[in-house]
């Protein structure tokens, strides 16, 4: 069976964005810098390098992990569409690529970058804070679902924000209420994973996270063309 043109177009957009990102390293550098700075800063107070050896709870570590991921992601992923609008290359895309293929291509790149970011942040936390993950499977599933939801939220928000003035601040303001429920659930489930909670205990949290992710992606697919072509 021939490969549908739609997926080929989405892949073309993703490949093009990766080519440009690897040449400019704008998002990668901004996100890596934020992630490393946060992890090192936190380690000085709570980690083995720290002056204080205050008791560390799984809850604190889970919150800090997701703070690092969230703010680093906000720092870089909004560039997906803002760069296209600012450089006026969005018209070239509108003329040549189906709207949905643009969305899926950019979502794919954001997912990849976020996966790299989550890996980096996790390794930094393990290395600098001596974090031990009691339930590795649960931790990975939470990171994956949380990342999927976060990438979806940032991609569709970036589309909205790219059309508006005051792009930088607007992105964070819009992102906050949309991703807050996701972060609360992700923090709770991560805390369980770190402290050795069972799959059964995390069941409702994972279900909520999965439902949130699905609802958000369906809404984004429905909204995208209207916003992109507006």
């Amino acid at each position: 069976m021939a490969k549908p043109v739609f997926w080929q177009a989405a892949w073309a957009v993703a490949y093009k964005d990766l080519q440009i990102e690897l040449r400019t390293r704008y998002a990668l550098n901004a996100m890596a810098l934020f992630a490393v700075t946060t992890a090192v800063m936190v380690s000085f107070r709570l980690g083995p390098l720290g002056l204080s050896r205050d008791p560390r709870s799984a809850a604190t570590l889970a919150v800090l992990l997701w703070i690092a991921i969230f703010f680093a992601a906000m720092n870089g992923l909004s560039r997906t569409f803002v760069r296209e609008e600012e450089a006026h290359t969005a018209t070239l895309l509108r003329l040549n690529v189906p709207a949905l293929a643009v969305y899926l291509g950019k979502l794919g790149v954001n997912l990849l970058i976020l996966a790299l970011l989550e890996t980096l942040v996790t390794l930094l936390f393990i290395g600098l804070l001596n974090v031990t993950i009691a339930n590795v499977g649960l931790f990975l599933v939470t990171l994956s679902l949380g990342g999927l939801a976060l990438a979806g939220a940032t991609t569709i928000l970036a589309t909205l924000v790219a059309k508006a003035d005051g792009k930088g601040s607007l992105f964070t303001i819009l992102a906050f209420p949309l991703v807050l429920p996701l972060l609360i659930i992700a923090v709770e489930t991560t805390e369980l994973a770190l402290s050795g909670g069972t799959w059964a205990a995390a069941g409702s949290g994972l279900q909520l996270l999965a439902a949130y992710t699905i609802a958000e992606h369906v809404a984004a697919l429905w909204l995208f063309e209207r916003v992109w072509e507006a």
Binding site: V5, A9, V13, Y15, T91
Partner: protein, 215 residues
């Protein structure tokens, strides 16, 4: 003008465009057939570029309709877009990509065959032979415009929309566009938005816009 092949027709009826409360034009009507060239003329701000953006669906009219009849089917500007080649100052290129990478990306995005030989031939046709691997960041404005022509022609589109087609070109570039417009007569139609008398001379029909704005 040869109208024996009526398989391609562009028509616009009762077309109006208003920005906020400012009318750009109202009740525009007309049609264009295969082999014809239309020049849209008018003062600055009269809506020449807007007319082209309406024709490819980048903007929506306030009122009226635009329709393409092609191979027995009717298309609106959005559904016709894959068969439209557009050149204009609104379309920017990726500074980080080379000329060849642009064609590679857009060919894949449009579902066209990966044909390096054709892409190189196209770049040579627009005067970019030997510059295939150079990034657009190093291009002059004239070279960037040449690449925009290569992109517009990539899918051999039956519709060519050219906004300020020679604005960045020297005499050699102008000849290139004249040649392309002439070639396009064989298999499609062309709409130019221009105030340059020499560009307008290529046209069979002229649409003057701006009357509504002037009241």
């Amino acid at each position: 003008m040869n109208r024996t092949d009526a398989a391609l027709q562009l028509s616009w009826q009762a077309l109006a465009k208003t920005y906020s409360t400012r009318p750009v034009y109202d009740q525009l009507a007309g049609e264009l057939h295969r082999g014809e060239v239309l020049a849209v003329r008018g003062p600055n701000g009269a809506g020449k570029s807007t007319f082209l953006r309406l024709l490819c669906g980048l903007e929506r009219p306030t009122a009226g309709t635009i329709a393409y009849q092609w191979q027995g089917q009717t298309y609106n500007p959005n559904t016709m877009r894959p068969w439209i080649g557009f050149v204009g100052p609104d379309v920017a290129l990726y500074r980080e990509l080379s000329a060849l990478e642009h064609l590679q990306f857009l060919a894949k995005a449009r579902g066209l065959a990966a044909d390096q030989a054709y892409w190189r031939e196209l770049l040579a046709q627009v005067g970019l032979a030997g510059r295939e691997h150079e990034r657009v960041a190093h291009f002059s404005s004239g070279m960037a415009l040449r690449l925009k022509y290569a992109i517009a022609l990539l899918a051999k589109p039956p519709i060519l929309l050219l906004d300020e087609p020679t604005a960045m070109f020297d005499e050699h570039g102008r000849q290139l566009v004249a040649q392309l417009v002439e070639q396009q007569r064989q298999h499609g139609l062309t709409v130019l938005a221009t105030n340059d008398e020499r560009d307008a001379a290529w046209a069979d029909l002229v649409l003057t816009v701006g009357a509504a704005a002037r009241g």
